[in-house]
């Protein structure tokens, strides 16, 4: 590869830029002071506060339920779509384009459209509506890892199986599925994290008992912050990082 001097400096600065805010949030969750920005010594006090906050726990529960539901919808749908057509060709290209559509629609537009759509059709707002919407925005994230995996697959394997008179289902179960499984798992986890992180759509589509954690944190930011927010943010961060790390490990295996 070409070597240009100074690249390392820019890259180091970029990584620093990416990690300083995260470090700040994590560090301040262990702050003894009730002032959000002043360091008052190490303490796990705010972790206890966060754990005792019943609405916060409920919101975390809602976020997990929505993410789980969205994942279990998006993953099979995306996997099936990825398997539908051979890697090259127009049909696969078209499928890929449609599945990727959510990436091209600004989130606020999609949120507004879904709100109006659900209202018009008479679907009540709430956790099921949020989960369905999250499934759609998670679709491209669940689809791409599987597709990548399939693209890298040696077509000779399938042909060999067919030569041995394996039924299409059997050849899928015994050959294709094990090979794409890491991609499926990786996509599922990305889908999970996409749902977990969404604020805009959950804000517009929330109904009774469906406040998700980001929406709850938004309310807290408005009325009164304590360092407990840092503790919750750190929890969310660890959860997301854990899932993405697992996804990476799986897709690299």
């Amino acid at each position: 590869m070409i070597r240009v001097p100074g690249l390392g400096v820019v890259a180091a600065a970029a990584l620093l830029f990416l990690y300083v805010p995260i470090a700040v949030v994590v560090a301040l969750s262990f702050n003894a002071s009730s002032m959000v920005t002043l360091w008052g010594g190490f303490s796990v006090h705010w972790w206890g506060e966060a754990a005792r906050d019943a609405p916060m726990r409920a919101a975390l529960g809602n976020s997990l339920v929505a993410a789980l539901a969205a994942t279990s919808i998006a993953t099979p749908l995306a996997t099936a779509a990825a398997l539908a057509f051979p890697p090259q060709g127009r049909a696969q290209g078209a499928t890929r384009a449609i599945v990727a559509l959510p990436l091209l629609v600004p989130e606020i537009v999609l949120a507004v459209a879904l709100l109006l759509g659900f209202v018009l059709v008479g679907i009540p707002l709430g956790l099921p509506a949020i989960a369905a919407a999250h499934a759609v925005i998670a679709l491209p994230f669940a689809y791409l890892p599987v597709r990548t995996r399939l693209d890298a697959l040696d077509p000779a394997l399938g042909e060999a199986a067919r030569d041995l008179y394996a039924s299409p289902w059997r050849s899928f179960r015994r050959i294709t599925l094990p090979l794409i499984a890491p991609g499926v798992a990786s996509g599922a986890m990305l889908a999970f994290v996409v749902s977990l992180g969404d604020f805009t759509i959950a804000f517009f589509l929330s109904g009774p008992g469906s406040t998700t954690l980001p929406v709850y944190v938004f309310g807290l930011v408005r009325t009164g912050l304590t360092p407990a927010v840092n503790a919750v943010s750190t929890t969310l961060l660890l959860l997301s990082v854990g899932l993405v790390a697992a996804s990476r490990l799986l897709s690299n295996r």
Binding site: M1, I2, R3, V4, G6, L7, G8, V10, A14, F17, L18, P21, I22, V24, V25, T37, P76, L77, A80, A81, L83, A84, F85, A91, T95, I98, V99, P102, L103, V105, P106, E107, I108, V109, L110, V112, A113, L114, L115, L116, G117, L120, A135, V136, L139, G197, F199, F204, L213, P214, V217, V221, V229, S233, L236, L237, S240, V244, R248, N252
Partner: protein, 278 residues
Amino acid sequence: MRALLAAPALLAAVLLLVLPLVLMGYVSTLERNPNGGVVWAVHSAQAWISVLWDLDFDGKRILNTDSLRIFGRSLLVAALTTVITFVIALPTALWMVGQPPRRRMALLFLVTVPFWTNVLVRAYAWVLLLRAGGLVDQAVAPLVPGGLGLLYTPTAIALGMTYAFLPLMLLPIYLSLEAIDPRLIEAAADLYAGRRRMLLRVVLPLARPGIVAGMALVFVPALGSFVTPELLGGGKALLIGNLIQGQFGALRNWPLGAAMAIVLLLLALAVLRAGVRR
């Protein structure tokens, strides 16, 4: 038969994406309820007229310079975010590609982590850093005793947006750089002398799909974002996202909000198209 496998995903995309967008178009042609909501089945072109011509304080209909300025500002902010993230992402990606494979994987993971943190948490972290007497001010205190007072300025919005979208630029560029056949580079090195010419003539054209994808992935959400600019910009200068969200809240004009959302979508698609063409 196998083609049917794609049906559920396509159906979901149509039902939960295309159809709602169409219904939103329908709502934009409805009469507004002055207290919020819409009067169903009563149609009106009012919303579409208001996008461009709105009532002035004295009730006269004038060119809606307020909306135009807000749309213009949003385009500018989105474009600026795209440029800044590109300027940071390209050298970083070039450096990453030059690393040994094992370290590359670790780096790739490192740069994606911030993207998976919550948008509110990200914005909030910058509030903590930039506020008067915050961590940045504390850090520069020996040099600038009064502090920089960066929060609630355009600089704060730029920082927050760059932060939020950098990974989306970095990833596709990195992936396309990584896919370049090293033999092409070697051949180029034989033919051309300078590094700069090689970069401009060979590497960048080959990385173009990644660059275009990165720009699209940053520009589209940047254009519609409203939480980051509101928390970091201090509510002093609205963006389209705020304006649209407001129509469904304090401004109580759902049809106008729907019409503006359609304009935003078309704007995003037009810019993307122009970007892909060139």
